[in-house]
């Protein structure tokens, strides 16, 4: 295995043109590759619409869930109103008490790990960390994470996808009933009480919000966390540097997210026949915003395949851009920054034992997206 498991599968394709005309699910998809073009298209929701149930994620998800996800699969002006409903919940990571809890959690998890000979970082560290942290965001008892951990890394796509998707939906339906027993303003009770244009949300709308909160914030966080751990194992100098220059934590966090870009791309539907940088897209067909290509665009990023803890500016689009910019970003950023700080405080070095890269195979490219499994040892300071 190469020391750096990452590569940019779109580098050569970008030199050939701004679009990769490929296919998913047997349908044509024009992937937009350059950073500036991706940013522009992400803001042009009239031409590139998110009003496309099950089709914003690529491949499409009809078989994996029963409801349209909110707010992601909607356009303004509805999107703006749907998004407002859950914004207060997603902004909780800005509260000092929330941040303190996250520090406590990550300290505890690192300490437990360092007492072990080795840890499988995907399932024994990143997944439980992601699930336990999510209980804070959703305002539910931490014990709920035990159930979520059992769903595995992807929920929707891991192995026997449909069954787990159903299990998760069943869990959510029950959670809406149980939520009155949990802390005030938890995510589920917030949705129970929320109104949209003067009416309560429908059961499907509520489920669509919950579905996305579980599915969207899962492998994204897990992949980024694993990438960080593996990077420090291979580059102990960077861990040392962060220890000496803690003021770099925010900068480094952005750089790890850019480099990981755990959500490779996302779909948009063209309501009308459109020409996208020379590619003809028929009405109702998809284009994709390829965050992973944009974040390695060397017309914007100097030596994009290098991780530079002090990269500035860092106009990456790993969290998207425009109206749908990731709602979970404050939470994800807090996890990442807290992890970086606590690693520098508690860990002297990380030993890489073995790793199996996770590869996204498609008709026209293969992309390494973090790890399927990652065996490490965290050495206590």
């Amino acid at each position: 295995m190469s020391k750096c498991p990452y590569h940019d599968p779109f580098a050569e394709k970008r030199t050939k043109g701004p679009i990769l005309e490929t296919e998913f699910d047997g349908d044509p998809v024009a992937m937009i590759l350059g950073l500036k073009d991706v940013r522009k298209a992400a803001r042009d929701w009239k031409t590139f619409s998110s009003d496309a149930p099950f089709r914003v994620p690529i491949p499409r998800e009809e078989n994996l869930r029963s409801v349209r996800q909110f707010p992601i699969e909607s356009d303004p002006p509805e999107h703006t109103e749907y998004r407002k409903i859950v914004e207060p919940a997603f902004n909780r990571p800005n509260e000092p008490e929330y941040q303190a809890r996250m520090t406590g959690l990550i300290q505890e998890m690192i300490s437990e790990t360092t007492s072990c000979q080795s840890v499988e970082a995907v399932s024994e560290f990143a997944l439980p960390l992601q699930s336990r942290a999510l209980t804070y965001l959703l305002g539910v008892p931490e014990s709920e994470a035990q159930t979520w951990i059992k769903w595995g890394v992807h929920v929707l796509r891991d192995g026997d996808g449909p069954t787990k998707g159903k299990e998760m939906e069943h869990y959510c339906k029950e959670a809406f009933k149980r939520s009155s027993r949990w802390e005030e303003n938890n995510f589920f009770s917030l949705l129970n009480e929320a109104t949209f244009r003067g009416r309560l949300l429908t059961d499907d709308e509520k489920l669509g919000f919950a579905n996305l909160a579980f599915a969207g914030g899962r492998d994204t966080v897990i992949n980024t966390v694993c990438l960080i751990l593996a990077h420090f194992a291979h580059h102990p100098d960077d861990l040392e540097r962060l220890r000496k220059e803690p003021e770099l934590v925010n900068c480094a966090g952005e750089e790890f997210v850019r480099f990981a870009t755990p959500l490779t791309h996302i779909g948009r539907k063209c309501p009308a026949d459109t020409e996208v940088h020379g590619a003809k897209v028929k009405a109702d067909q998809l284009i994709s915003l390829c965050w992973a290509s944009a974040n390695f665009d060397d017309t914007v990023f100097d030596k994009p395949t290098e991780i530079r803890l002090d990269r500035k500016p860092n106009p990456h689009v790993a969290f998207g851009n425009g109206a749908h910019t990731c709602l979970g970003a404050p939470h994800a950023r807090l996890i990442i920054r807290t992890l970086l700080t606590q690693l520098t405080e508690l860990v002297s070095s990380i030993t890489f034992l073995s790793g199996q890269p996770k590869i996204e195979k498609t008709v026209d490219y293969e992309r390494v997206n973090s790890f399927e499994s990652l065996q490490l040892r965290l050495n206590l300071k």
């Binding site: 950073l35 500036k36 940013r39 522009k40 803001r43 800005n94 925010n250 900068c251 966090g253 952005e254 914007v300 500035k312 500016p313 860092n314 106009p315 990456h316 969290f319 970003a329 404050p330 950023r333 920054r337």
Partner: protein, 118 residues
């Protein structure tokens, strides 16, 4: 127009540099108890439209403001990193600055900036 002034009567604070944020809805928020950069001051005071998602490291541009013309000279031009990010914003103009890159100083007492739409 609603003016919110969070200052206390404490004289030390009274003497600190003031900055006014004009938000998209036209609300004017005057702050004179802030230190640090303008993004941090805005966040501490829940100024609408200033998010500061990346924590001030020139990555997110969610701290975009437009400096009132009469203040532009004193505030100064964006640095190179900042300019690069602003150019990607699409909606930036010659009055645009990223508020995380503006340190509040006594010289800027009375500063007025408009919060740019996200």
């Amino acid at each position: 127009m609603f003016v919110r002034n969070k200052s206390t009567l404490n004289e030390r604070i009274e003497n600190m540099a003031k900055v006014t944020f004009v938000t998209e809805s036209g609300e004017e928020i005057m702050e004179n108890d802030g230190t640090g950069n303008l993004m941090e001051i805005a966040r501490q005071n829940d100024v609408d439209g200033i998010i500061g998602a990346c924590g001030g490291v020139c990555s997110c541009a969610t701290c975009h403001v437009r400096v009132k013309p009469e203040w532009m000279e004193r505030v100064g031009r964006p640095g190179e990193d900042e300019q690069d990010l602003l150019e990607l914003e699409g909606r930036a103009d010659e009055r645009s600055r990223l508020s995380c890159q503006i340190e509040m100083t006594d010289e800027l007492d009375g500063l007025v900036v408009e919060v740019a739409p996200l």
